[in-house]
Symmetry: C3
Subunit: 672 residues, 3 copies
């Protein structure tokens, strides 16, 4: 039986990727001492070590890694041991060129960078199994082993492959899904659009190298297929590891805003959600960063996650790589913990001397000098976090949920839409930001997720509603919930076929309306809506709405659809539904949700000025309030009357008020 | 003997593409009834039906199509029957991969979209012949068959192919054109530029995958070759159809602004010019739309054309697809009729449920509800048009012609010019717009066209003048015509070789000048010209002109060529020639042509305020005046004194004045 | 023993590329006469003549070329005879497809343009040898032969090849460089970054078609390899020519700002540096043009160079090709001579009638009329230059040097840097411009060049300092020199591995500081520095500097590093070093270098207003002062007291003052 993470690691995990194969043994010992000093308790080892672990096919050398793990263990540092499969060695693709992934134009990727393998290569899968078995049996009993880190950032750089082996696999996957070619013809668009009927599985090609628009059903299935192929890779490794080490937790590290992989699906097979976060300091609002944390926490129903990679100073893969200002790395790390992170890790421990990532920041920079800002900030944070053992395992209790669906993301951004510059993520950000700025906790849920714990659910641009999925939303409203749906929702089914009978057919009775026409707006075009006598700007899109029970709460002011409804409300069961048929300015959403939140009686844990994040983590008996001041000036926060708070980082009691310095954090605990 | 179109269809044709293979039989019957209601009298059927007509090689199934045609006929709806060759079925390229067109990088296009065939594939041509023969013999006597719709939008998406079969065909075409390699060497650039001499036909490659600039003569020939290859496809089908059904008119549908195909050449082999028009509602001036109509009407010397496709609401293939406002679709449809259209058709009848075009507007939208703006506007128009039988077959009588030449378009936009951002079409638009805004009818003519009916001929940027072609312009001027030529004309011959001896050598005596130098201007650069004491802005280009008989009527005001001639006039025979050696602002052209038009006594049929189109169609005994109000307010138009007009759409008599509402049209007829 | 250039050509060379194969014999005779009239004394012949010299493999025809050379010689015109290898004939790649270079995507380049050969093709090299041997033996004794013009603009269009033969050659080159695979592993990045260890040479691929970032050491070596492959081509030809005609100088023509070829390395094997210059008239400041001249002169330690190609009017390969104004071509030609040019040549003599370059300006334009501005300006210049025989062979005596290094250029612009929009050339331009505007002569030197003649050396962004190279800079400062180094210098070694131990490790003691952090700035971000109480704007980059002996002479005013040093000065030996840790505005550099120049007592030859270039060329006994007025108004220049100048172009004596008209030049000589 696999152990709980907080059993394995009862502290906030702190550390980073460690690539000892780039250094000699003397450095390893120095590293271990420095790690101790910096409060490191966990490092990820061997992520890119395949070529030095399996020197030739079947010829393994684990001596160096044995030594590294021994040294780490003797200094009290645990290891998230990687399976080393992320970057195959040159000898593999030399001997078996079929392991190479292939571009859309038929050109194979080459060795010389990383992750050049085809997810559908049987030979790659075979080689992975051999390596993982060796790793697992070698280190199953090593005391440093805390958890398994499978592969690395699956799909990064390369989430599509057009090799002949991938084509065979695609056809096989379709055969499993559709059973007969006739069924596939039907599911790929009625039967006969543009003469695309197939007689045989062998006639099916990739949705690639086409003279013009692809078949959207086919493209969507290709995305599903590639997600599945990569997921299979993960499961192959997991199965071996589980068999050899049934009690050791396993995971792979996710990425933020990563469209190709359906992380809700993946998370079900992970013992711990971990992810890599690289917000760009050029975006000064940290709300995207916060949203990613909330999404990651939501993938496993609120179970704490690890931030597996972040950078101390600056990355090197953007065009211009700004460095974090003093205190910023620490503050953002506490935002991670506040939103459910039980691990704060970096890429990487020691900055590389050579290679593509040598200018990527690290915990120990090129100078090797520890008397520098970067290392000092790391050391301060590592030692501070030791005071937060109590937080480990606690979670959030949001009453607001945003529906998020990877398959919808894929479908709504396929080509051939009325408006082809719509971004699903931007719509989700827009609604998330409203709650972020009000310090209202938000969870993310799948369209088929359990909504019973929420009072308010927002579904931005839920274009694809699979047959029957509307029931989840209907039940929520029936039982008294408040549901907000935004434009271009409920249009297509699982195959990206239109729900006929008037948009949005599966939601018409729930919302009490029909959308008669879509009126997209040009880039520079604007319109105005009027709500409660106030005017607000809208852009991008206007639905022409016919009310069928709903009531308009905002109407258009301009253009030929002047005075027609833009935003509507509808009583449904014990609850109500609101439909937003356009893309309103933030100030409209601000006032709209102020009203809604008042109605459903949801408010922020503490009142706070702008750019101050207030987040709670809750345990059986205790609540931890995180106050994060993103401003350049100190702020004074009123605490709740009658409560005595424990200031966790300063070991003191607080009542009434607390002053939080600029770019600083306070963590206050109180008994529930 | 092929029948006249207005014999086959004595009404304004009204209808659209109809794709019954996407629906079941019950829908077909419903469709036929709705079509009747909407005034539909013609539909195009089977455009993309190959895969459901020829299920496997040689195995045909016409039962469903028989039924569809029977149903349509029984509801009084005629059929433009497509030959179904536009999109080959998957089994064809599976069995014969050589039918696939190939990209410049050697990658074949794939099945999964449409039109992936190589125009030079012998196997594709063979398969086409089999299918067309079957179609023709099956339906030769079907009473619904009104005309044959060959293939679809030839060249759309794919007008170049780089397959080995295309290379062989290219060499063969060159052999036909040049007979000997020595002759080709000569015609491709003297002999020896950049060591490009050929010993043998087999050494010739595509003008593709080159380290730097191509040979312009070779590139131009490649464009001619591809135009010819695609034209051969059309003629193969036409020949079969003509043999089986000698009296049924045939056509294919053209596209607007389509550079790869020389439509003047094609039109000679068409019984009816038809084309597909998708103006972007983001461009508010409809003058481009009007120009396309005038060009299409001109392709067959004024014979009426059909608008074969337009959209009711919005397309789905632009980045942002704006929808037409109430009345706009109707108004633009009348502009079609006004400018020579005897058919007003749509893509498509019923909006698709799936596939790449499911968000493309249609006559019957997704809701299937007929109580919506789209269907109501269609129905109104369809029934109105029934009153215009009298218009059918009438034509325009323009006294102004603009020279338009596809080969010039190809040549002048080849790389390596003094100014490489010149657009031929933009220059033509510029001159067309002057007449459009004055409501002066314009025809388009080939450089070798008959000019005897015109008083004013404009040749914008006629860069390529083939040897001897200048005679047509000379004769026109000699006999009293007024000719206007704009900069960068008369520079190259048929092979894109320079006419030596001073620019523009073939036009020097006609224009009375030499262009000594080209002085292109940078993007942000401007100059000023002075004409009759007034100043006007010019940009893009300045010719440095030496007068040799001509007289300057405008001179430059700035830069080192200050005071040198910019625009000139020259007496030639009984006529005169005007040369515009720069790119003047519209206000200059406006006043220049005001003067010219006054001189040649050409004026608008009726005086009209801005944004009101006045267009005439003329029959033996009657003249139809179309008054189209593109404004958002009503306009009052003074009619000609002493004439009693018949208001065709309102069945009343009019004299003196007529009020036309915003976005509305009046059609007035009077006896000649 | 090879002759000196000024022995072969004791005049300023004047002429151009001559392509007689595009014309017939009658034109050749007319050309020779016109050349005489225009003062032409040298033409380059046969550059693209391979296909008409070797008609089939081994079948040569030199008759036409014999005639051309005879005609030229009989008119007193010398010939720089090309080896004709720049563009292989079609029959070569038809018979031996392996001569074709290959793109990164595996697609071979094709015949039909020029220079489509792979530099690593053995067959191309073999064919080149055959042709060059024939040429050399045919014309070794022809009296018109003055010098050999090898190939043409090596690397232009195509400086990378991905053919299988190139891959073999790359592996062979690596074997020569690194001897063992273990050594290569070490030199390519420690050993094991991203699992990139190699077991065998055969496993190595191009740094191409990778899923993400390449290995920078590998990419750098690929650049070195391609430079070397192309250099080998040159040396193959040179060796044959030297053997057959040991006294005839040889060269190839360089290009301006050409990154792929290390011209410092190449120049050592050239008897004469020649280059092709095409400044864009849209850039009105001619300082880049001047810098290219100074760089070309510096390639062979100040030995005069030839400008082998320029255009009379306008080129045709930019998007918009502005033409040179009256006088501009002449003025810029004199700038060439002023900065060390002993040859002023054009592409080309007679403007082509056909082909990709037909709109490229020439000495004789399309009209063939000599009564035009272009030819008249050519003729004036050609005859004026005859008065400058005395200048031939003279050189410059700069006291300022700028370090310039092709390998640094390659390395610093590889991806994965802290700021990935840095341009090495822009940094060099920035510092060059300071001296250009002060009319201070500048040489360029390699990092290992002899600095003993200079008082001030500037090293802009010298990112790569190979092991030990810092000694050259240290010695310079020790012996009293003033050294200026700008940000991001001294970071990496020859393999692009970091110099560990604190940036910039090899320069820390020389500069007296450590750079603790890099703080790149976003595009729109600015900062301010304060120096001597004045404020100046900086952008792009800020070093966070820790002083270790140096003194701050400017500090930052904003951001978290406020008040920390931005620019520093350090005494070192008898000299001093200045470090500029940011990208300052030009006004800061202006005042900084005013101070430095005053200190080291370097000043302009004559005082001059803005946009007037003052340049000296010096011979044993005489100094020639060139005064070039780029203004649109005349300027008056004070001459040095007590000197009587000879006005070379006007044959008069001058003292005290001289007036130089707008866009005009004065050349004044005086005894040293």
């Amino acid at each position: 039986m696999v152990k709980q993470i907080n059993e394995v690691m009862p502290h906030i995990a702190f550390g980073g990727d460690y690539n000892p194969e780039q250094w000699n043994e003397q450095v390893w010992i120095e590293d271990a001492k420095l790690m101790q000093e910096a409060g490191v308790n966990l490092v990820s080892v061997a992520i890119f070590s395949w070529s030095v672990l399996e020197l030739e096919e079947g010829k393994f050398d684990f001596n160096w890694l044995d030594k590294v793990l021994d040294i780490l263990h003797s200094h009290g540092i645990g290891v998230a041991l990687a399976t080393a499969t992320a970057s195959p060695p040159a000898w593999l693709s030399k001997r078996y060129p079929e392991v190479l992934a292939v571009k859309e134009n038929g050109v194979p990727y080459q060795v010389g960078s990383r992750q050049h393998y085809s997810p559908n290569s049987k030979r790659y899968r075979y080689a992975v199994k051999q390596l993982v078995k060796e790793m697992a049996s070698r280190y199953q009993d090593h005391p440093a082993l805390k958890m398994w880190h499978i592969n690395n950032e699956y799909g990064c750089h390369l989430a599509e492959c057009y090799s002949s082996e991938s084509l065979e696999a695609f056809r096989e996957w379709l055969k499993q899904r559709y059973a007969t070619v006739d069924n596939l013809n039907d599911k790929w668009g009625g039967t006969n659009f543009w003469s695309q009927r197939y007689n045989d599985w062998d006639e099916i090609q990739f949705p690639a190298n086409l003279p013009t628009f692809y078949n959207p059903s086919q493209k969507l299935d290709y995305k599903r297929f590639m997600n599945n192929s990569i997921f299979e890779l993960y499961k192959i490794e997991k199965e071996i590891l589980r068999e050899v080490t049934p009690d050791v937790p396993v995971f792979t590290n996710f990425m933020y805003e990563f469209k190709p992989l359906n992380y809700f699906e993946w998370a079900k097979d992970m013992d711990l959600v971990t992810w890599d976060s690289y917000p760009d300091p050029r975006e000064d609002k940290p709300f995207r960063h916060a949203m990613h944390h909330d999404l990651m926490r939501s993938l496993k129903n609120g179970q704490p996650f690890y931030l597996m990679e972040q950078v101390t100073s600056h990355v090197n893969w953007r065009d211009i790589n700004l460095t974090k200002k003093p205190g910023e790395m620490r503050l953002w790390s506490y935002s991670t913990v506040a939103r459910g992170g039980d691990g704060v890790m970096y890429f990487q421990w020691r900055q590389g001397r050579a290679g593509a990532e040598k200018f990527h920041g690290a915990m120990v920079p090129h100078s090797s000098n520890t008397n520098n800002r970067t290392y000092q900030e790391v050391k301060q944070l590592g030692n501070e976090l030791k005071q937060l053992d109590g937080v480990v395992g606690s979670s959030s209790k949001a009453k607001v949920a945003i529906v998020f669906d990877w398959e919808n993301w894929w479908a709504v951004e396929l080509e051939g839409k009325p408006h082809n510059k719509l971004s699903y993520l931007d719509q989700v950000y827009k609604y998330y930001q409203v709650f972020y700025e009000k310090n209202i906790a938000v969870d993310f849920v799948e369209p088929t997720g359990d909504l019973s714990n929420y009072q308010l659910v927002v579904a931005p641009m839920l274009y694809m509603i699979k047959n029957g999925q509307e029931k989840y939303l209907e039940d929520f409203a029936k039982q008294g919930g408040t549901l907000v749906v935004s434009f271009f929702s409920g249009i297509s089914d699982e195959q990206d076929h239109i729900h006929l009978g008037g948009y949005p057919a599966p939601l018409r009775s729930l919302l009490g309306l029909t959308v008669e026409e879509f009126a997209p707006m040009a880039d520079e075009e604007k319109n105005t809506i009027v709500a409660n006598g106030e005017k607000y700007q809208v852009d991008t899109w206007a639905d022409i709405i016919k009310l069928e029970g709903a009531k308009a709460i905002a109407t258009y002011k301009e253009n030929w659809y002047e005075n027609s409804p833009a935003v509507t409300i509808h009583r449904y069961g014990k609850g109500s539904t609101i439909y937003i048929g356009t893309n309103p300015s933030n100030d409209y959403l601000d006032q709209l949700f102020n009203g809604i939140l008042q109605q459903v009686e949801i408010e922020s844990p503490l009142k706070a000025p702008k750019n101050v994040e207030i987040v709670e983590r809750i345990k059986e008996d205790k609540t931890y309030v995180f106050i994060l001041n993103h401003n350049n000036d100190p702020v004074i926060i009123d605490l709740k009357e009658g409560i005595t708070y424990q200031d966790c980082l300063n070991n003191r009691q607080m009542t009434e008020q607390i002053t939080v310095k600029n770019t600083d954090v306070a963590i206050l605990a109180y008994e529930n």
